[in-house]
């Protein structure tokens, strides 16, 4: 019994430590839309990215910095990675030490939902949606550096 128990404890402990690993949730478009429409007293930033998108990966630290420095902001990374291979995203989060919550939007019928995010969006990433506490939406397609983010947030406040 004892010989069986020890490996069991190890399995339990290792699965427990996995729970502590960074969270990444796979969501549908409806779930994403509900997130953008949820009530919040913060300016929420939804940044569309993917692990393979070099300009996206490059701008992530600037987003994380704003999120860490400004308590009136709440950042979400919305991954466009392949929903069949979520480990690519979880590995990335771990390796880069991403702090903000990451969601993988798993809906490849893009044309059915891109305009619902913003009619201004061509579909190219990176792209970022800002939602203010009163529900107003502001959309930006393309890279944003720290200064651009600060200036946009300044306008939205």
């Amino acid at each position: 019994m004892r010989t069986l128990l020890i490996p069991l404890i190890f399995i339990f402990l290792s699965s427990y430590s996995n729970l502590e690993a960074p969270v990444m949730k796979v969501i549908s478009f409806d779930e994403f839309e509900a997130m953008t429409k949820a009530k919040s007293d913060k300016i929420r930033i939804f940044n569309f990215w993917a692990t393979w998108c070099a300009p996206c990966v490059k701008e992530m630290p600037d987003f994380e910095k704003v999120n860490a420095d400004d308590p009136s902001v709440e950042l979400y990374f919305i991954s466009m990675d392949d929903g069949r291979k979520p480990e690519r995203v979880t590995n990335f989060i771990e390796k880069r030490g991403i702090e903000a919550p990451v969601y993988l939007l798993d809906d490849v019928d893009f044309n059915s939902w891109i305009d619902k995010v913003s009619e201004k969006w061509s579909g190219a990433i990176p792209a970022t949606l800002f939602v203010t506490p009163d529900g107003k939406r502001h959309f930006h397609e393309g890279v944003m550096d720290h200064a651009a983010l600060k200036s946009t947030l300044g306008q939205l406040k």
Binding site: A50, D82, G123, I125
Partner: protein, 205 residues
């Protein structure tokens, strides 16, 4: 205000509204697209005007590096094989600056075309002038052009279909449906679609 100025004001407002809604750069469906002369992976220069037998073209903004493009390469080959015999060959244009994206250099294009045995022209828009004129935003992005006299009229802009991951799970074949409509002289059912794609890597000016 008399009737004429009133009409004029209404017209002006309507014009301004439509400009703000559709005022983005590049072609819209119904516009006349301009020809180009771009270097193909075989070393020749390709223009639409060279294809005297063509009835039109499937111009696809493409590249080597984008995972969505890679997912669609076999479907691009299939589109060419299906529609080139009907007068609509594929011309793939790589718009990406090779300094911003070294994997999209002309040399790498040659390798990709050879490895995949592309049956269509794969040309490099090094100056990005054609890409800007067309208003392409991401790869892969299709412009279906129909020859009308000397003009190339845009009939469809957008994605190939609605499932990049799995060709067998596709429920909407946008380009095939648009092609079928053009070939039978019908109105294209969905004239413009959007897809998540890789942003075009612009040159730093």
């Amino acid at each position: 205000m008399n009737m004429n100025t009133h009409h004029f004001t209404c017209l002006l407002i309507a014009l301004m509204v439509s400009l703000s809604a559709f005022g983005q750069d590049g072609y819209q469906v119904g516009d006349k697209a301009s020809d180009f002369k771009l270097k193909n992976v075989d070393g020749t220069y390709v223009s639409m005007a060279d294809h005297e037998d063509a009835e039109g073209f499937l111009v696809i903004f493409s590249c080597n590096t984008c995972p969505y493009v890679v997912a669609y390469e076999d479907r691009m080959i299939a589109l060419h094989n299906q529609f080139a015999p009907k007068g609509y060959p594929v011309i793939a244009i790589n718009p990406n600056d090779d300094k911003a994206s070294p994997g999209d250099s002309f040399e790498k294009m040659k390798e990709r075309a050879k490895n995949k045995d592309f049956p269509f022209a794969y040309v490099y828009d090094e100056t990005q002038e054609t890409t800007k004129k067309y208003g392409a935003t991401n790869t892969p992005q299709v412009y279906l052009l129909e020859k009308e006299g000397e003009d190339y009229v845009v009939k469809y802009i957008g994605a190939i279909d609605n499932n990049y991951q799995d060709a067998s799970s596709v429920t909407k074949k946008y380009v095939e449906d648009a092609m079928d409509a053009v070939l039978t002289g019908d109105d294209v059912p969905e004239k413009k679609t959007k897809a998540v794609g890789c942003t075009i890597k612009w040159r730093k000016s």
